[in-house]
């Protein structure tokens, strides 16, 4: 998606609203329908944040669950607010003719939303209103930081992560995004990334990788001799809920990136998206069958996400049969990527780097191979991949280095062993023992009020 910057059109619209309307050829019905589609796409991308929270919760240990949920709650809240404050106008600065297209800023807040034509069809060819535009983009923005969250889970200090993620969403993601979706230099070069295999997923993935490198693996994951001990997640149902919600959210992530409800374009994108997701799941199952005769649910789930990330760059320009290929390869790739990263002692509890970085790159390059648009080229796609790699690695690396040097990045070993829930939050995530045992009743567990003596007398 490239948001059309409708500033000149806006001026025209103010002068000649009737004509502008006629020019656009967009009826009130189409405008209303388009805008509804885009608002719902925003809602669907919103629910992806719950999806991420659940995947991360499921694939990490129960002693760190509150911490993970808190981080995800913080990211969506702070992400929306910083996007309101600066993000939206950093990402869509309206680069002037002849500008380098690297950095621009259109001012704080959303005052442009009160322009007379900002919420008419004139704003964006009748695709959506200014407010919808902001909302959809804001929901996207927080995604990048969420990707990092899973990779650094179970050992990063809460406050350090909060600082990192706030800056990452507000500045790194948005400035990087302006290069393509904001109409910056990569857009000028012809780089293509429909809905963010690179702009969202690889950016998040590079951030995740830097986090892992600066933190090191979790205690106990590797012995001194280097032998790997897996650390199973705490809840496969949670992980599954997460992945299905993410797939659902992708209806909006990719479907909304059409930037209108155009029937042919949106439905085509949903078909390629779902085919790639399905192929990703099956691809991962097949690839894993070469490794073990016992199918791994977490890999199949990662495979679905891999397929989704893989098709995201080209969901509108890759035909269904190739979408299956792109998704299936992504699903296989994610399996080998997870295992390879594990061998390299890059300890990523949820496979975020494999899903978002490895498959984000693959998806971006796949546009260069399979696109129906002859203008897309593998070389330029590669340039884009490298540009985002360089920028994000430098920014995230610098951020992590500064944070590590000042406030520290990793919790103490005691806290890590005991769990971040107790260390950072002083509480537990679960107490599902239905018995009336003492460990399920806080009032017995702690310094409790004596139970009224009548209760004792009547208990049978």
């Amino acid at each position: 998606m490239i948001r059309k910057l409708a500033l000149p059109a806006l001026i025209g619209a103010l002068a000649l609203p009737g004509l502008a309307f006629a020019d656009d050829g967009v009826s009130p019905g189409v405008f209303t329908a388009n805008n509804i589609w885009m608002m719902l796409a925003a809602a669907l991308v919103f629910i992806m944040h719950l999806g991420f929270a659940m995947v991360e919760t499921g694939l990490t240990r129960a002693k760190n669950t509150v911490n993970i949920l808190f981080k995800n709650t913080f990211i969506i809240c702070s992400g929306i607010l910083t996007y309101y404050l600066v993000g939206f106008n950093l990402m869509y600065p309206g680069f002037a003719e002849g500008s380098a297209g690297i950095l621009g800023f259109a001012g704080f807040g959303l005052s442009a939303g009160f322009d007379a034509a900002a919420n008419t069809p004139a704003y964006a060819d009748g695709g959506y209103t200014y407010w919808t535009d902001f909302l959809f983009q804001a929901m996207f923005a927080a995604t990048a930081a969420t990707i990092v969250s899973g990779a650094v889970a179970e050992r990063i200090k809460l406050k350090s992560f909060m600082l990192f993620s706030a800056i990452f969403v507000a500045f790194v993601y948005t400035i990087a995004g302006s290069w393509k979706w904001g109409g910056g230099w990569l857009d000028g070069m012809g780089f293509y990334d429909f809905a963010g295999s690179t702009l969202v997923h690889s950016v998040g993935g590079w951030g995740a990788l830097m986090g892992i490198i600066f933190l090191g693996p979790r205690l106990g994951k590797y012995s001194k001799s280097g032998r790997l001990t897996p650390i199973p997640g705490s809840s496969m149902p949670s992980a599954t809920i997460g992945v299905f919600l993410l797939w659902l959210g992708w209806f909006g992530f990719n479907g909304g990136s059409v930037l209108s409800g155009d029937p042919a374009a949106t439905s085509f994108v949903l078909v390629t998206t779902c085919l790639a997701a399905a192929a990703g799941g099956v691809g991962a199952m097949i690839a894993y069958s070469f490794i073990s005769s016992k199918p791994d649910l977490s890999m199949a789930l990662n495979g679905i996400l891999a397929g989704l990330v893989g098709i995201t760059a080209g969901a509108d320009v890759i035909n269904p049969s190739f979408a299956i290929l792109v998704g299936g390869i992504a699903g296989a790739l994610v399996v080998f990527s997870v295992i390879t990263f594990d061998k390299l002692k890059i300890d990523d509890p949820v496979g975020a780097t494999s899903v978002h970085l490895t498959c984000g790159i693959w998806g971006t390059l796949a546009v260069g191979i399979f696109s129906t648009n002859p203008e897309h080229s593998f070389g330029i796609q590669l340039v884009g991949v490298l540009a985002y790699a360089g920028f994000t690695v430098v920014c995230a690396g610098t951020l992590f280095a500064i944070i590590r040097a000042t406030m520290g990045l990793r919790v103490s070993e005691e806290e890590e062993l005991e769990g971040l829930d107790l260390g950072e939050h002083g509480m537990h995530a679960y107490d599902v023992n239905p018995s009336t045992g003492p460990f399920d009743d806080a009032h017995l567990r702690g310094h409790a009020a004596p139970v009224p003596s009548t209760a004792l007398a009547t208990e049978s």
Binding site: L444, P450, E459, S460
Partner: protein, 115 residues
Amino acid sequence: MKKIEAIIKPFKLDEAKEALSGIGIQGLTVSEVKGFGRQKGHTELYRGAEYVVDFLPKIKLEIVVDDELAEKVALTLQEACHTGRIGDGKIFVLPVEDALRIRTGERGAAAVSVG
């Protein structure tokens, strides 16, 4: 030394702990167990079918003390955990030949004393 093992009703744990503190006991070990005895289990229901759950949640306390304290611990527990209703539980006294504090290596009574 003796080991006092008490099987009690879960909601009595707090009172038991307080009572033991009252007589100077500073250490004990607790576990969740299920008890089968004269106290009847309850009937559970699921999708129209009944079944009887015989095993009831209980708490097991283990306290190792010097010989002379054993009787006092047992009686204190009996009093604290008593409701007079079936299922109140049992207290057993077992002989212990030696004790060892891992931290200091102290042996015998010293291992379970307040120090």
